[in-house]
Amino acid sequence: MKDIVSVDHLRVEFATDSGPVVGVEDVSFTIAPGETLCVVGESGSGKSVTSLSLMRLVEFGGGTITAGTLNFIRADGSTLNVAAATPEVMGQVRGNEIGMIFQEPMTALNPVFTIERQLTDGLMLHKGLDQAAATARALELLRSVRIPEPERRLKQYPHELSGGMRQRVVIAMAMACEPKLLIADEPTTALDVTIQAEILALINRLKRDTGMAVLFITHDMAVVAQMADRVVVMYRGRIVETGTVQQIFEAPREDYTKALLAAVPKLGEMKGKSAPERMRLIGDEAARAAQAAPKARKREVLLDVRNLTTRFPVKGGILRRTVAQVHAVEDVSFTLNVGETLALVGESGCGKSSCGRSILRLIEPTSGEVWIGGRDIGNLNRHHLRKARADMQMVFQDPFASLNPYRRLKDQVAEPIQNFNLASGAELEARVLQLFDRVRLPREFLNRYPHELSGGQRQRVAIARALAVNPKLIVADEAVSALDVSVQAQVLNLMMELQEDLGLSYLLISHDMAVVERVAHQVGVMYLGRIVEIGPRAAVFDNPSHPYTKSLLSAVPIADPSKRRFADDLSFKPITSPIFPLGHQPAPSVYDQIAPGHFVLRA
């Protein structure tokens, strides 16, 4: 059966200040009708460039196809070399015979047009429908992507829809003209795990119903395992390996593929293990071997959070009075032991970040106590709080935004030390040097600026900055989620190493269950500002008892093609809004202890 797409020796170059730079080179692959081809690779691997080339959208990013052919079999059976097609022809192909979905559902829709307009204009353009017919079709599409109350949605504007719904709309747009090929460029990367599951399932079903082929671009091996028929692994603009999903996962030929797979934590692989384990890194076996069996540290409590509650006012009305409150953190209690890691997991908006910030008083909690080393952070005044901050540091999610682009790295690492004037002059220099060594950053980075570093390196700097004042507690807010898997693994290992050596305690805020399973001692699952389930990692993962925990775990894609989960439409209970009218007094959190240290919120 004839391939619908055959890419042959594609080469794309980008014009930059320092002359042309090769985006992808010598890329060849084919897509058969009705199959899903996953192109996987880390950032900068050229996977997106490839997909954009197929749409000839790469030009708008300053790129040019300088070699190769991109043959696409059109609806009428004729073969079109996209690389050579005229803008007019591409106009007919785009959105008509090839549909595309992008990564950012939040910005993928035009904020000032109604959903209806954005759904219908393509239809009217390509299918020559009149407004009425187009609207009818649009409605049909919204139904097919399972959007509740589609009639109402048509009249709404993007900002009135949730992220998941927006992505469904984007898919509906891509599907509008029943394309023979759907290109999905990281369609779920920006979404919560449950919504991701829904979207993946949706794509699967649409594919089955329409028999279209799918070109699926992602960085997430787990998603690949779940979606792909065949896989193309890319690295630095070239294809490393191609094969069926089974081949790739069970018998990878290339080292790179192996390393990539190794670094991916597989949910469930820690079954039966009590202590956390470092991530697997090819060539790093030595280091892992060196990992001493966890020292039998007597479990003394470092952080004790009692009934922590944080609410944000919702201003409104004539005098900007508070009309309602966001209950970001609601009656949360837990303890964290010295040298241990407590992971707070949950989906966006569940309050896990607010919880972390409230503990450091980067935002002021409404009530509750936070004890660190026998001190109640809650009633410290400005001055003492500053002092106390030496004990508790934070590592932020975005390694790009969390470093000041205008300051040299050494100054940024030195700043906390100066703040508490722990050292100065040569001593300071030495301390900074030592910190750089500690996080394995080459010393020549001392005088560099953040932009000269990779994401992983920046995160190391951020960690160094956090370590600078010898804190007892580090709150790591999605500290690794912006990093490529291999880098992620390295950084996680670094953190675990530091924990063992310095007896640090981590409050790990994360949405990635697989990572958490690997590195955490304790796990707390948060939902609508409350901890719904908390306990030893093994207990929570092996015996999830709160319905939300269950659904959360069931939604996590597993990096194992033999464990596919997203065949049919899924729909999880959408997260309700945590906004309550003034004076609303929610019931206190009551827990059942179902196993030693394993608590579940009573419904």
Binding site: A15, L360, R389, Q393, A401, N404, N419, H451
Partner: protein, 271 residues
């Protein structure tokens, strides 16, 4: 694309350097009274070999006037803008960084001042202070302040939300230090770019003041004053307007081209 931008910046820099050179060297090379010396037999003479840029209604050589005027005009413009930055920076910084009540109060104030047309403010102020260069500078400087305050505040607001500011706070940096170390350097480019644009307006504002006889006083040469003086003879001696006008145009052009690259120069990322 980028290469083009840098060449553009080069042109800007060259232009500005040339103008600065003229402004600085001019007074050294040309006797001060060359700009006021009158040739009653060559009034409003079009450009000739004797007077390459022509002469004005009093037979004064436009070339000398525009050269010697450069200094006055730039002096006024630069000092006025610097003044407005000095006044506007703390205003905008504080109100943007702290937000909340302080922000409300300060911005209400700024809004009020913004409601008064800058020219009107400048006119009134220099009418109060009386006409001379210092007062002209003050008038323009004050009139421009609210605009800068607004822009700076917006920038500060943006930067104050960046994680690295939160990081600094969480590592015990005091607000003042955060403002100096983190907020200031990050808003500086925007401020400087805005400054370069304001310079152009300042030069012209001086011309506007001359409309009421305020601003630089004759016979001193300043571009604003010269353009103003050309008002009644534009049809019979266009060069009296075009010569200073061109000078301003080139400066503005240079400033704007320069402003674009200045951003890059200040940005370590571009290094």
């Amino acid at each position: 694309m980028k290469r083009f931008k840098t060449t553009k910046g080069l042109i800007g820099i060259v232009l500005l350097l040339a103008i600065l050179l003229v402004a600085i060297l001019g007074p050294m090379l040309i006797p001060a009274d060359a700009s006021t010396a009158m040739d009653m037999h060559a009034r409003r003479s079009p450009p000739t070999w004797v007077h390459p840029f022509g002469t004005d209604q009093l037979g004064r050589d436009m070339m000398f006037r525009v050269i010697l005027g450069a200094r006055t005009s730039l002096e006024i413009a630069v000092s006025a803008v610097v003044m407005s930055v000095v006044l506007g920076l703390p205003l905008g910084l504080i109100s943007g960084y702290f937000g909340g009540f302080i922000d409300n109060v300060l911005m209400r104030l700024v809004d009020t001042l913004l409601a008064f047309p800058a020219l009107l403010l400048a006119l009134t102020i220099s009418a109060v202070l009386g006409p001379n260069i210092q007062n002209t500078i003050i008038a323009i400087g004050v009139a421009f302040t609210p605009y800068l305050a607004r822009i700076i505040r917006g920038e500060a607001l943006r930067v104050a939300q960046m994680p690295y500011v939160e990081a600094a706070r969480s590592s015990g940096t005091t607000d003042i230090m955060i403002m100096i170390r983190h907020v200031l350097p990050n808003i500086l480019p925007a401020v400087i770019v805005q400054g370069t644009i304001s310079l152009a307006f300042a030069i012209l504002a001086e011309a506007g003041l001359s409309f009421l006889g305020l601003g630089t006083q004759p016979p001193a040469a300043s571009w604003g004053l010269m353009i103003q003086a050309s008002r009644d003879q534009l049809d019979i001696a266009p060069w009296t307007a075009l010569v200073p006008g061109l000078a301003v145009a080139l400066t503005v052009l240079g400033l704007n081209m320069f402003g674009d690259v200045l951003r890059d120069i200040l940005d370590p990322r571009a290094k």
